[in-house]
């Protein structure tokens, strides 16, 4: 009688502890151990969460798209402005430019006091070159701009852009090289006139002439927009 109850207790305790062990070691919240109802509940929760997050994601995506569009248009305008700026700098003479053209080197005639090269001579040459369609001109690396001055100072030296320049004068011009040359030589060409009074004028056609930029500051005082 007592033995039977003892054995029964043994079996009971054995199963009980097995059960304790199962309950202890099993993660009740993990998917494998969940009951169908709980799983369904969980699934519904996750679905709802997913929908919320999805909506948020879409909103953020839209915003990103908007920003992207904005950025694109911004960069487009920036590029346009930059291009314009470069163009105007090119026209103004604030950049080094290169292209086909001619180089004129004028060496003054020695011991000839009457016919030294004057500012008017250079001006005439520049005018002739302009007439022939020169796009960029420089005298001794001084760029000729819209408000460039070419003046004589006391018949002793010439100032271009306020800089004193000395012989030999090297005039570079970019444009159609044959047009440019023909504007100076030939019948009534200014180079020929200079040659006639004894100056040494050398004209070379070049495929690549580098005209340096204007180094000073272009400032306007009286012009207003």
């Amino acid at each position: 009688m007592i033995v039977t109850i003892g054995i029964a207790c043994l079996i009971l305790a054995c199963t009980m502890f097995m059960q304790f062990k199962i309950v202890n070691q099993t993660d009740i919240t993990s998917i494998e151990t969940m009951r169908e109802e709980e799983l369904r509940q969980e699934l519904a929760n996750w679905k709802q969460k997913y929908e919320e997050v999805d909506q948020q994601y879409e909103e953020v995506e839209e915003k990103i798209e908007e920003y992207k569009n904005k950025k694109q248009s911004d960069s487009e305008t920036a590029a346009l402005v930059k291009e314009e700026l470069e163009q105007s700098n090119l026209l103004l003479g604030k950049t080094d430019v290169e292209g086909e053209g001619i180089e004129i080197t004028i060496n003054e005639a020695p011991d000839n006091d009457f016919s030294i090269i004057k500012a008017s001579d250079l001006l005439s040459i520049v005018n002739s070159l302009r007439y022939a369609g020169a796009e960029a001109i420089s005298i001794n690396e001084e760029r000729i701009l819209t408000m460039t001055d070419i003046v004589d100072i006391n018949d002793t030296f010439i100032k271009v852009n306020g800089q004193r320049i000395l012989a030999p004068y090297v005039i570079k011009a970019i444009g159609n090289k044959s047009y440019l040359e023909s504007s100076l030589v030939g019948n009534g060409g200014y180079a020929d006139q200079l040659r006639n009074i004894g100056h040494d004028v050398k004209i070379t056609q070049m495929d690549k002439v580098l005209v340096k930029k204007y180094n000073g500051e272009i400032t306007y005082k009286y012009i207003s927009d």
Partner: protein, 123 residues
């Protein structure tokens, strides 16, 4: 005497149970209901010992029969989608309290009679 048997059985069972292999969580609900049924039978057995009506055949058949019936009911309940195991637990736990009451009454009466006897003796 009977307590020594119960305690010994419980300790040995605990050692066995701790060292036993793991059972899948799927069957844990069946095991739990079997445990409750067996617990009820053990209490019933103790109560019958106390009442001096202990029958080993009834005890053993009840021990296994109740456990198996409880497991079968639980399975049926799962198939029917009705929590029948709740009914089994209610019945078993109710009976456990009844049996516990019988055991308690017996020992309380025993001790009070002992106490009163001692008192009479001392008088």
């Amino acid at each position: 005497m009977i307590f020594i048997a119960i305690i010994l059985g419980c300790i040995l069972g605990a050692i066995l149970g701790i060292n036993a292999p793991m059972i899948s969580y799927t069957y844990s609900s069946y095991l739990a209901i079997a445990v409750v049924a067996a617990l009820d039978t053990v209490f019933g057995g103790i109560a019958s010992v106390v009442n001096k009506k202990f029958d080993i055949k009834i005890f053993i058949s009840g021990f296994f029969g109740n456990a198996i019936l409880a497991i079968l009911l639980t399975m049926l309940g799962e198939k029917l989608n009705v929590d029948i195991y709740l009914a089994a637990i209610v019945v078993f736990v109710g009976r456990m309290f009844v049996n516990l009451g019988i055991i308690r009454r017996y020992y309380v009466e025993k001790w009070t009679s002992k106490f009163s006897k001692k008192k009479e003796k001392s008088k």
